[in-house]
């Protein structure tokens, strides 16, 4: 079936099997491999992207469900000149990533979280991230980065 999704501001139309998940539409049809797959049960959150501005796990959305809608992936988060989004920048400054595999999903989840809760407490950040797993950082610096990004004046973009 033919599916058209606006991905990072660009219309992407591809002919895919009906069973195609959004994450494979992004990775294989659109060639955007920044979104990673870490599990097969919607548990790890590595595949988190924004669908119409809200975080979803793209392994649990069919490409067909996203037809006609807008998706933002990690590749579309920085400004066109490459300037990092405040959440990306905070991850860098606070060493919130090690192997980096969960990172795109974490960054997208936090971007969405901070839109809903612009000034979260540490507990709210931790609760808000319970759907995203990281095996490297113990979350300490991820939480720190999220709180630092929340204080960023550039966040609402």
């Amino acid at each position: 079936m033919k599916v058209t999704v606006t991905v990072n501001g660009r219309a992407e139309t591809h002919d895919v099997e009906t069973r195609t998940l959004l994450v494979y539409f992004l990775r294989e049809a659109c060639g955007l491999t920044g979104t990673n797959v870490g599990c097969d049960t919607t548990s790890c959150g590595a595949c988190t992207v924004l669908l119409n501005g809200e975080s979803v796990k793209s392994c649990t959305v069919l490409a067909a469900q996203a037809d006609g809608q807008e998706v933002t992936t990690i590749e579309g988060l920085a400004k066109p000149d490459g300037t990092f989004h405040p959440v990306q920048q905070a991850f860098h400054e606070h060493h919130a990533l090690q192997c980096g595999y969960c990172t795109p999903g974490m960054v997208m989840a936090i971007t969405s979280l901070l839109k809903e809760h612009p000034n979260p407490t540490e507990a709210e950040v931790r609760e808000g991230l319970e759907g995203n797993l990281c095996r490297c950082t113990g979350y300490h610096n991820i939480v720190k980065a999220a709180l630092a990004a929340a204080g960023s004046t550039e966040l609402v973009s």
Binding site: T33, G34, T41, T73, L97, Q98, R135, C136
Partner: protein, 802 residues
């Protein structure tokens, strides 16, 4: 990319070593540009799907591939017998710990007998991954189900054999008893003895990136490029060559971005061999990506031990002897270093304590379960858990505070280097300082006061405080020591440092990172050595064509062994540059100072030449001293003379709801000493992650099997890797006791957090319940276990469960 300099911890008096420089790895990972194996675009690749045994132990009677071969997109399908001719040797185990070790023959696809749920019995190749998976479901295998050896203690009795043709499940018995008589004497004379039994449950390593392999045959010349999500591209190349019968020089192994390993990618896996052999056979690229549920069966697991530890002490609690008997679960086969994992802990069951007599025995036992192998800490977390739990038991027995019993037994600061009763030479340490620091950061006295108050008030929220003091041997490893342990390889590391004509620097390392920030740390070390900016230093690694020699990354070895090799190579570049500078400035080499990348004549600083100019001069070679070869490049291979011995004390604080058994980790303090720190930002990150993994063993994680040997925890819904919501922020401190074992004075920090945290948490849980009479607690400390222990204690008038 920006760099910040805010604090210094160890290292030189100037330069970037010791600063919190931000990681150069981050931008590619944060923008989605980084390429993991699964991200590589390889036109024409066939996709491999593996058909796995649903039985823990079964005879494979017939493999019918006819239906699978008719499925859309399928190119080929093979049974184990079909592929037997591909193998020059069975799958490798590099660590025959004893001369008489039993090693079951292990092929990438089983021939006649499947020995665990997940053992490969057939493979399918198709044009797409989905087609391969669909077709794999059409493979029909007839089995004769055999009795399975599942429970470790039961398997050790040989009631059921894990391999049909063997006579025993015993793989080996390994003993360390330098003075058995002294141990016997100490126990005979002891005022107090402690005897404890602990179970190390199996763990699933769960790196966030599942494994993946892609093998690309070159159309001319018979060469193969193997892309694998591995920690060990160099070891893998050698082992693939031996096992698949490919001349090693025709293999190039590349580990692209690797999404975590924790030991699970320190192996030679069936799927790596299958992709190589099938790419050779089909003359097409072949790739495979592990699914998460598949990983629970197909990737090695960690731990899996039954530990019996005994302490003999005098009346004041001074430990005179430690005696340990382990039963270690090998799983169904010996993977790359399976038998050696318990042995890596064998020397450390007396922990940080000055114990004169020591003996250790380990029996390796086969079960019909996924093989075990290295998982973060590998043997040392198990050792630390046993001694630290036992020390708390001793403290309770003699009625002193856990901190005090530790103080009484610590190896004193002035005893280093310390020859241990296990036969190691501990390099340096100040265990009292780390304990004191941790108690202060945690406000230990305040916590004890609050605990007493809650108990007095009969609060349902019980407070528990747990200590863990640890030492690890890492920086694997002196090659001669490895030889004495029958390990098949050495423990050195190789490096090259070269200056390019433009003055830029390339560093080549045989270590192979998967999240540790090597590029950042190596650039810092070399920048300081050469007096250049770290931005001018590029680091190359993880590709055997770029770094032909290396022994890769595991065992907290990369900095203390690999970093030392890099520093040595950089020194050699400086030595050569100095000779060239002396030639150009017409002075003696010893009259030159190197400062900020420029050689200047001592006393006449205006006479100077920059390293960059020297690099260009060495490149043009127009005017070199007689006999000097062109270019500034040097190699070094460093083989350490000793291990390094990081140490520290961690404090865990838990709150337990005595009505529901719920355990919350409310506070966590860690004081670690990894010697000099190259980059404290990275050190802290390693500690944070390590703590989380060790806490997870204590509280949530267990690779659970049913009685038939089916693994029950195949997804993150069942296998409870903690999320941010389950952990607190951590409070870290550090002390700096440089290692005399290497010129950088570094020790390693990759495994420390995991080693220390598991016993700290369980000790805290037992501490919270001890006044009720609960003295034993198995891992993970689930609410059910805690509730049952509290309930049982309340029903027993005298209290006590141990």
């Amino acid at each position: 990319m920006s760099a910040t300099v805010t604090e210094r911890a160890g290292g030189g008096a100037r330069g970037v070593v010791g600063t919190r420089m931000l990681r150069r790895e981050d931008p590619a990972l944060l923008s989605g540009e980084a390429q993991f194996v699964h991200d590589l675009s390889v036109p024409g690749a066939l996709h491999l799907s593996v058909v796995r045994s649903p039985h823990a132990h079964a005879r494979v009677l017939e493999v019918d591939l006819s239906a699978a071969r008719e499925c859309p997109g399928v190119v080929a399908a093979f049974s184990g017998r079909d592929l037997l001719g591909e193998w020059a040797a069975p799958m490798p185990c590099a660590w025959p710990v004893t001369a008489d070790m039993q090693t079951p023959t292990h092929y990438p696809v089983a021939l006649d007998e499947a020995c665990y749920v997940g053992d490969a019995v057939a493979v399918v190749l198709a044009e797409s991954a989905a087609q391969a998976q669909d077709a794999a479901a059409s493979v029909s295998v007839s089995y004769e189900v055999l009795p399975a050896a599942v429970d470790l203690a039961d398997a050790a009795s040989d009631r059921v054999l894990a391999h049909d043709a063997s006579e025993t499940n015993r793989a080996y018995i390994w003993e360390l008893a330098p003075d058995a008589a002294a141990v016997e004497r100490a126990f005979a004379e002891a005022a107090v003895t402690v005897s404890e039994r602990y179970v190390q449950q199996r763990l699933i390593p769960a790196a966030m990136e599942p494994r993946g392999v892609c093998v690309v045959p070159q159309p001319f010349g018979g060469d193969f490029t193997v892309y694998s999500s591995t920690q060990i591209p160099h070891i893998l190349r050698t082992m693939l060559g031996i096992t698949a019968g490919v001349p090693e020089g025709r293999l190039r192994v590349v580990a692209p971005s690797v999404g975590g390993g924790f030991g699970s990618k320190l192996n030679v896996y069936a799927e790596e061999l299958l992709c190589l052999a099938l790419a050779r056979r089909m003359r097409r690229p072949v790739r495979w990506t592990e699914e998460r549920s598949e990983a629970a069966q197909a990737t090695i697991q960690g731990r899996g031990q039954i530990q019996q530890i005994e302490l003999a002490a005098d009346a004041e609690g001074h430990v005179q002897a430690v005696r340990v008997h382990l039963v270690a679960d090998m799983g169904a086969y010996l993977q790359l270093v399976t038998p050696g994992i318990p042995i890596l802990g064998a020397f450390l069951y007396h922990g940080v304590y000055d114990v004169p007599a020591y003996s250790f025995t380990c029996t390796g036992v086969f079960t019909n379960k996924t093989p075990t192998d290295a998982y973060r800490g590998a043997g040392r977390p198990e050792a630390t858990y046993a001694i630290e739990r036992a020390m708390d038991a001793l403290a309770r027995r003699i009625g002193v505070d856990p901190a005090e019993v530790r103080r009484r037994n610590f190896i004193a600061k002035d005893k280093f280097p310390y020859a241990s009763s296990g036969g190691l030479l501990f390099d340096s340490g100040d265990y009292d300082a780390a304990l004191a620091g941790a108690l202060e950061l945690a406000d230990y006295e305040g916590l004890r006061a609050e605990q007493a108050q809650r108990r007095a008030q009969g609060s349902a929220k019980l407070l528990g405080i747990g200590l863990s003091s640890y030492v690890e041997m890492c920086g694997l490893a002196p090659s001669r020591v490895l030889a004495s342990l029958n390990y098949a390889a050495g423990g050195w590391e190789a490096a090259t440092v070269r200056m390019l004509p433009t003055g830029k620097v390339q560093v080549v390392s045989g270590s192979s990172p998967h999240g540790q920030g090597h590029e950042t740390s190596w650039s810092m070390i070399v920048a300081d050595k050469l007096g250049v900016s770290p931005e001018d230093v590029d680091v190359l690694h993880s590709d055997t064509a770029v770094s032909p020699f290396g022994l890769d990354t595991y065992g907290s070895r990369s900095l203390s062994v690999g970093g030392t090799a890099i520093a040595m190579a950089a020194d050699r570049v400086v030595d050569k540059a100095r000779l060239l500078a002396a030639h150009r400035l017409e002075v003696a080499p010893e009259d030159l100072d190197l400062e900020a990348g420029t050689f200047s004549v001592r006393g006449t600083p205006s006479r100077a030449v920059a390293l960059g100019e020297l690099a260009f001069a060495a490149f043009t070679a127009h005017d070199l001293p007689d006999g000097m070869e062109p270019n500034l490049e040097a190699q070094a291979t460093y083989d350490p003379e000793n291990f390094t011995f990081p140490f520290g004390t961690h404090v865990a604080v838990v709150e337990i709801d005595s009505d529901t058994g719920r355990v919350d980790l409310v506070r966590y303090v860690a004081v670690d000493d990894c010697g000099n720190q190259v980059n404290p930002l990275i050190v802290e990150g390693q500690v944070h992650g390590g703590i989380a993994q060790g806490v997870a063993q204590a509280m949530w994680e267990e690779a659970a099997y049913d009685e038939a040997g089916n693994i029950l925890t195949t997804s993150f819904a069942d296998y409870l890797v903690p999320a941010a919501s389950e952990l607190p922020s951590f409070t870290l401190g550090h002390t700096v006791t440089p290692s005399p074992s290497n010129p950088l004075g570094v020790k390693g920090i990759g495994e420390a957090g995991t080693i220390a945290s598991t016993p700290a948490v369980v000790n805290a849980v037992v501490d919270a319940l001890a006044h009720l009479g609960v003295h034993s607690m198995e891992m993970p400390v689930t609410p059910e276990r805690v509730w049952r222990a509290v309930d049982a204690a309340r029903r027993t008038p005298t209290g006590g469960t141990s």
